[in-house]
Symmetry: C2
Subunit: 199 residues, 2 copies
């Protein structure tokens, strides 16, 4: 079976819904790989704003209502954060530094939860330290690893890989070169991976 890569961006509301839905399926590497990337540089390279909803009030109003409904549908807490979009760089670096850890999905979901249900600012080191400590993990060592040059370079590579795959939004899923955009397409991506006879 070809692995499904789950591309998430910590600033993205729909990435939160996708992460929780995917975690509930208990699929692990090599079947499913969780991969953080930064959407901002990709949008900027395309000449687009990193807050595309700013210019589209009707779409923005829809999206917040849609998130309320989606969260309720999947039994997830959701509260529109006071600051949006948030800076998820440090969280993305933590996720990038520990791609093979079993705690990665729990960490990712806890960050999204802090951001979109608890009103915390995920740009704060303390927010992430609290999450890691709450999971019984050595926050100080992990956060140090997250800012090493190799980690920063790995996140830049992941973002470049996402761009090269044609990713233009988050969340996305890739199966080989097949791309699926949006949390709505989670099941389509998993199904695609199961049919390796696809070209």
């Amino acid at each position: 079976m070809t692995p499904v890569i789950f591309w998430f961006e910590f600033a993205s509301t729909y990435s939160y819904i996708a992460a929780e839905r995917l975690r509930a399926k208990h699929l692990h590497p090599p079947q499913v790989v969780w991969k953080a990337f930064l959407l901002g540089p990709i949008l900027e390279a395309q000449g687009r704003s990193s807050s595309p909803f700013d210019a589209q009030p009707a779409k923005a109003a829809y999206v917040w209502r849609d998130l309320d409904r989606l969260a309720a549908k999947h039994g997830l807490p959701f509260e529109k954060p006071r600051s949006f979009p948030q800076n998820g760089l440090l969280a993305a670096r933590v996720a990038t530094a520990f791609p093979d850890e079993k705690w990665l999905p729990d960490f990712v979901c806890a960050v999204f939860h802090a951001e979109f249900a608890q009103g915390h600012d995920i740009a704060e080191t303390e927010t992430l330290a609290d999450i890691l400590e709450g999971m019984g993990l050595p926050s100080r060592a992990i956060l140090e690893e997250a800012v090493q040059p190799e980690t920063k370079a790995a996140l830049r590579r992941a973002t470049e890989e996402a761009r090269a795959l044609g990713i233009f939004g988050a969340p996305s899923f890739s199966v080989g070169h097949e791309l699926f955009w949006g949390q709505d397409r989670l099941d389509d991506a998993l199904e695609w991976a199961q049919h390796s006879h696809h070209p």
Copy 2:
């Protein structure tokens, strides 16, 4: 039960998929109402291009691939038209002039089929006349009715109603003031309508 209004735009690829999926469910008024509108004036009033993909090559490439996959998944023929987006004004007027006819869903799907599977230009009166004749309908009388001032005014009203509901893309579904955007949300909209205890 609150009716589900299916808002489609003849230039929209995903409206084609939604129309075929909805037709297969055999739901009729008052349960489901098919309503044509024009997305162009709504986008223009928001200062957006009526061809939003022009500025986003990565998204455009994704969308055509996605449509191939979606059409295959739902057993529908699909071929990228040489001219896109097409002018669906006359087709929308036909749909607007005959909102209560049992043949409306068949006509709508036949127009989408001509556009997205058979390589025809739906802006041509002859394309629509051929479709209507093929359905055993009096094409001349229908096309005359479609260009009456009352029909033109009704389509403008429908478009204004869509804008007032907050519609910013096609297809959309509305249940009272609840809005669902995209063919992916067809089932969510139908489910919402069935739970009239929703606020």
